[in-house]
Symmetry: C2
Amino acid sequence: MMQLLSDESYMRFALELASSAQGQTSINPVVGCVLVKDGRMIGMGAHLRRGEAHAEVNALLMAGDEAEGSTAYVTLEPCSHYGKTPPCSKRLIEKGVKRVVIAAQDPNPLVAGTGIRLLREAGIQVDVGVLQEEATVMNEVFNKFIVTGMPWVTLKLASTLDGHIASRTGDSKWITSEASREYVHMLRHQHQGIMAGADTVLADDPQLSTRLSVPALQPVRIIVDGALRVPPSARAL
Amino acid sequence: MMQLLSDESYMRFALELASSAQGQTSINPVVGCVLVKDGRMIGMGAHLRRGEAHAEVNALLMAGDEAEGSTAYVTLEPCSHYGKTPPCSKRLIEKGVKRVVIAAQDPNPLVAGTGIRLLREAGIQVDVGVLQEEATVMNEVFNKFIVTGMPWVTLKLASTLDGHIASRTGDSKWITSEASREYVHMLRHQHQGIMAGADTVLADDPQLSTRLSVPALQPVRIIVDGALRVPPSARAL
């Protein structure tokens, strides 16, 4: 059955917009924004690349003058600081948005709530927490980094039921399936780096690249090789 | 499991963009567009209102100068004529898009294929038919209108298992459920007009309005009343 129009349905769509940019925003979070006025969507946007327009700005661009009096659904608290782009809270205020619905607060404890406060001080109705869990899980990589300064690490390990990663002969192709290999390539597309030890590179000569049916993002290749054993002919180099 | 990057996954996202505008484009079709370059989404858009920018134009607006050399995924064949806005085929050519993937051809037999031909004549690679069925079903209302000139009519009839629409006493509230009533309100949001006969208006005094948890679109109220029996006090007036 079709989804009923509601704060949640609009936020779910904003989450889809955000999700579509998963992996391509570098150390920035993925964010989606939908602008609605008088029962009609007037703008939509996502943050597509670090240093480029935030989701709110892209949605406002599409809405143009219609933005005045609209409701903005944003998956992450609008920023309040001058970074690579001017603060989105200010932009929403300037454009006359009258209500802002937010899924998740800024995960950075030092700034969480400041964007919301700015909006409220400007007389905008702000509602926080619609689909908060989905929005938080979506940015688990960013959230860990912004709070701890540490990178999110995904371990890919193919192992047999009894805990081995290769047969006695060293032959390890393939104990995984077609589906898991495709999944790994999507993970690569969504990660900034891919790391392997020298032993793995020497044994498997992996390409450490993302291979899908259409061009994808290529993570930085990192080889941990304390003794420079990997030859220049390695396919990853 | 996460969706693999592919022509289909991008088209599926473009279909979601289109679907989000269901009901608000008047006699125009709903259309979504995604622009991709080097494994990265650089623009997205939908057609939001008749007379305003088409999906391709909104996506190109978000992409800016990056559009050159990109691939465009469009749920409907880009238009080739000057209507309320300039033709999108021309715009895609001007912006240097190098490949266009289309879900469904223009349903109007008189113009189907002309947008595709324009693009191909400009040296653009055009692939047609990715998720064609989904794209066609999505615009069944528009497709019927543009081919036959007739409106799409949805009949809402609440009836008992034995074929009655009210009890012997004329009491008909409620033989439907909460879920079906909410569904009907979404249908109203997505239709341009809502029609009832004078007997229904006299018996039920319906509001003929869309009532959801957030503001929705209100269809034009049409009452078929050959003898002007409906009083000015009727709630629908």
